[in-house]
């Protein structure tokens, strides 16, 4: 990646969940840390998120879900990315997510999952250190 291009992150709210506090806070924290942030707004289908990610040419996607539907929505995003031949966007997630689901989500390609109490600085550092796009 060239030095003059900011890292682009899509913060996305999949599904019907309206809890957007975390998504907005993380979006702002990334922006303050010098990232280019695109926030999708609420009620996005996995299809809409993947198409926005491709269109906006993002380096990372942050998925936020607090409705308990993460086990359907996050893997669906991963599946659609794969189907589109996209394998270099770093996907991370956050929400009210039980520990046992975190390992399952990681197994299908979600790089990291944050639960309530997580630090925005940890997420920012993680994304910086783990970007796969060059």
């Amino acid at each position: 990646m060239s030095n003059d291009r900011k890292i682009r992150v899509l913060i996305a709210k999949p599904g019907l969940d309206g809890h957007d506090r975390g998504a907005k806070v993380i979006a702002r924290a990334f922006r303050d840390a010098g990232f280019e942030v695109i926030y999708t707004g609420l009620r996005q289908t996995p299809e809409m998120i993947v198409s926005a990610a491709i269109q906006e040419d993002v380096d990372a996607i942050g998925l936020s879900c607090l409705s308990g539907a993460h086990m359907h929505l996050f893997p669906k995003v991963m599946e659609l990315l794969k189907a589109k031949g996209v394998d270099d966007i770093l996907v991370f997630g956050g929400g009210t997510i039980p520990d046992e689901d975190i390992s399952k989500l990681k197994a299908c390609g979600v790089a990291e999952v944050y639960t309530p109490g997580a630090s925005t600085q940890d997420a920012i550092a993680f994304v910086r250190d783990n970007l796969t796009r060059k």
């Binding site: 019907l16 969940d17 309206g18 907005k24 289908t45 409705s67 308990g68 046992e100 630090s119 600085q121």
Partner: protein, 566 residues
């Protein structure tokens, strides 16, 4: 009946002397831990409160007696000496059958009222077989698609004895119609049906974000339920004006109070615009507060809210019935304060928050369960949460007298500042053209987003200590706790149930009911006058589903698009 100015002058001198002689040398030897000290909302707190901090406190004007204007000390004359608050655990998950079993269990355990949690598709007006419902069925609450599900949800429950709260807003009219229809089947007369509908649409645009329609038709629907309720349901609170979600979205205690009261003002104005006398419906307006970690700030918020609302209702809206002046409230401990780290510690947080709610004079209370940073609670976790309320009620003694903290210089000063701060926000909102306009402009949304971000930064900079999160961290202590999981096969069962329902119901009755509703929704009658509620009730009885009824209204009214605010 205020302090004598001469006494205050004397006290001021004495305080200066104390600062010089006693405090000064002490601070040199032992400096304080922090500067400034602030509440969880970031409000600075002084070292010491004395009469100098409440120089104009006028007992009869500002506090009065419980059960009387301005209700600062509580809405009932005896408060918890008469009866405790209603212990009402918000609950619902999976299927109607499972949730019905949980309700029976909670009632057996001493719970005093029901509180229905619906799953997101119901809240958003989609049936379980809609593509948007994929993965969401039964997750955040019970899957209720039609009257058929509601019949199962409420089977065998003593609806003539307990009151039921339904946490639902955009689709509240449909859920209420279903509840009424089940009560009719049970032979319970309208005037004996007691409960509360959340129905506070403004806070959806501001914070909770479960909006569907644009603001105007949404307000029309809410007003319609207020009109319908005021005519037929004397024991039903048609709206629960909710600060809870505003706070959870990141607002400070003051913003929660101010924006919620501003929403309340709007509903009063809409009700009056629909031709109702303020005293016809204001007694059925109820409120819902969040109870966060800062004990005294929360208590002050409850007390200020009662006084502020009483004054507004009497002075601004000229209400004459004392019941119209009375701010009755449900409250819930702050979900957002629960930590995923060291989850057992949440039991302590919840207990202290619940104590604040009780000292604040709540009428009804939900205590969160320790496992809710992960998922909906298990039965064991809910039982501990309910027992926490029972301990406060029966063991602590705080219920023995009314408003025990009144007269504390600190609590009264905080109460005053809370009321003054809220009035300042109300003035700004009035200047913008009222709350509806303020919401259209994104004013409360931006204020809340700013506060949420400021709070997060304060936590990450260690300016605020969260035990187990940024201090006293002990990863080895993070033991797995039991988590409730929802049966993934439920969605398929609901889909099959819906298919069967659509085949077996009376098609003609369904057609007639839906046509009738469409006509009413299209109508341009004065606000609230064409009464959508009776038509929704008929559609529900014809076994029209939530998705069908709301789908029709979506077609007629369109959908709301949110401003992109971060």
């Amino acid at each position: 009946m205020t302090f004598d100015p001469k006494d205050l002058q004397h006290l001021e001198k004495d305080k200066a002397r104390w600062e010089e002689q006693t405090l000064g040398s002490h601070l040199e030897r032992a400096p304080e831990r922090s500067d400034p000290f602030t509440t969880v909302s970031g409000k600075p707190i002084r070292r010491l409160y004395t009469p100098l901090d409440v120089p104009n406190l006028d007992y009869p004007e500002d506090l009065g007696f419980p059960g009387e204007y301005p209700f600062t000390r509580g809405v009932q004359p005896t408060m918890y000496r008469g009866r405790f608050w209603t212990m009402r655990q918000y609950s619902g998950f999976g299927s109607a059958e499972e949730t019905n079993r949980r309700y029976r269990y909670l009632l057996e355990q001493g719970q005093m009222g029901l509180s229905v949690a619906f799953h997101l598709p119901t809240l958003m007006g989609y049936d379980s077989d809609h593509p948007m419902a994929a993965g969401e069925v039964g997750k955040c609450g019970a899957a209720i698609d039609s009257l058929q599900d509601m019949e199962v949800l409420l089977r065998g429950l003593p609806l003539d004895k307990v009151t039921t709260s339904m946490t639902i807003t955009s689709t509240a009219a449909v859920a209420w119609a279903m509840y009424i229809a089940v009560c009719e089947q049970m032979g319970i007369a309208y005037d004996r049906i007691g409960g509360t509908l959340q129905n506070d649409i403004l806070k959806e645009y501001v914070a909770q974000k479960e909006y569907i329609f644009p603001l105007k038709p949404s307000l029309r629907l809410v007003t319609d339920t207020i009109v319908f309720g005021s005519r037929h349901f004397p024991k039903w609170n048609t709206i629960s004006i909710s600060g809870y979600h505003i706070r959870e979205a990141g607002a400070t205690a003051l913003q929660e109070l101010a924006f919620t009261i501003a929403d309340g003002i709007t509903y009063v104005e809409e009700g009056m615009r629909a031709g109702l006398d303020v005293d016809e419906f204001a007694p059925r307006l109820s409120f819902f507060w969040d109870i966060h970690n800062d004990l005294f700030e929360e208590i002050a918020k409850f007390r200020a809210a009662r006084r502020l609302w009483a004054r507004l209702m009497r002075e601004r809206f000229k209400a004459k019935n004392p019941r119209s002046w009375m701010l009755r409230t449900h409250s819930q401990t702050a979900g957002v304060s629960l930590t995923a780290q060291q989850p057992y510690v949440n039991v302590a947080r919840v207990a202290l928050q619940a104590l604040a709610g009780v000292l604040g004079g709540t009428q009804s209370l939900h205590t969160n369960s320790m496992d809710e940073a992960y998922a909906l609670p298990t039965q064991e976790a809910v039982t501990i949460a309910l027992r926490t309320q029972q301990v406060i009620a029966h063991e602590t003694g705080v219920t023995n007298t009314v408003d025990p903290l009144a007269g504390s210089y600190f609590v009264e000063a905080l109460t005053n500042e809370m009321e003054e701060g809220a009035l300042e926000y109300l003035r700004r909102i009035d200047e913008l053209g009222g709350m509806v306009r303020a919401v259209e402009l994104g004013f409360p949304q931006q204020e809340i987003a700013n506060s949420a971000y400021a709070y997060q930064r304060a936590v990450e900079r260690q300016e605020k200590v969260i035990v187990g999160v940024n201090s006293f961290v002990d990863e080895t202590e993070r033991r797995p706790i039991p988590i409730l999981s929802i049966d993934e096969a439920l969605q398929q069962r609901q889909v099959e149930r819906l298919a069967l329902l659509r085949k077996s119901r009376d098609k003609d009755r369904w057609n007639r009911a839906m046509d009738d509703l469409r006509g009413a929704a299209l109508g341009n009658d004065p606000w609230g006058k064409d009464l959508l509620m009776p038509r929704i009730l008929e559609a529900v009885k014809a076994y029209a589903t939530v998705g069908e009824i709301i789908g029709l209204l979506r077609e007629v009214w369109g959908e709301y698009t949110e401003l992109n605010i971060i």
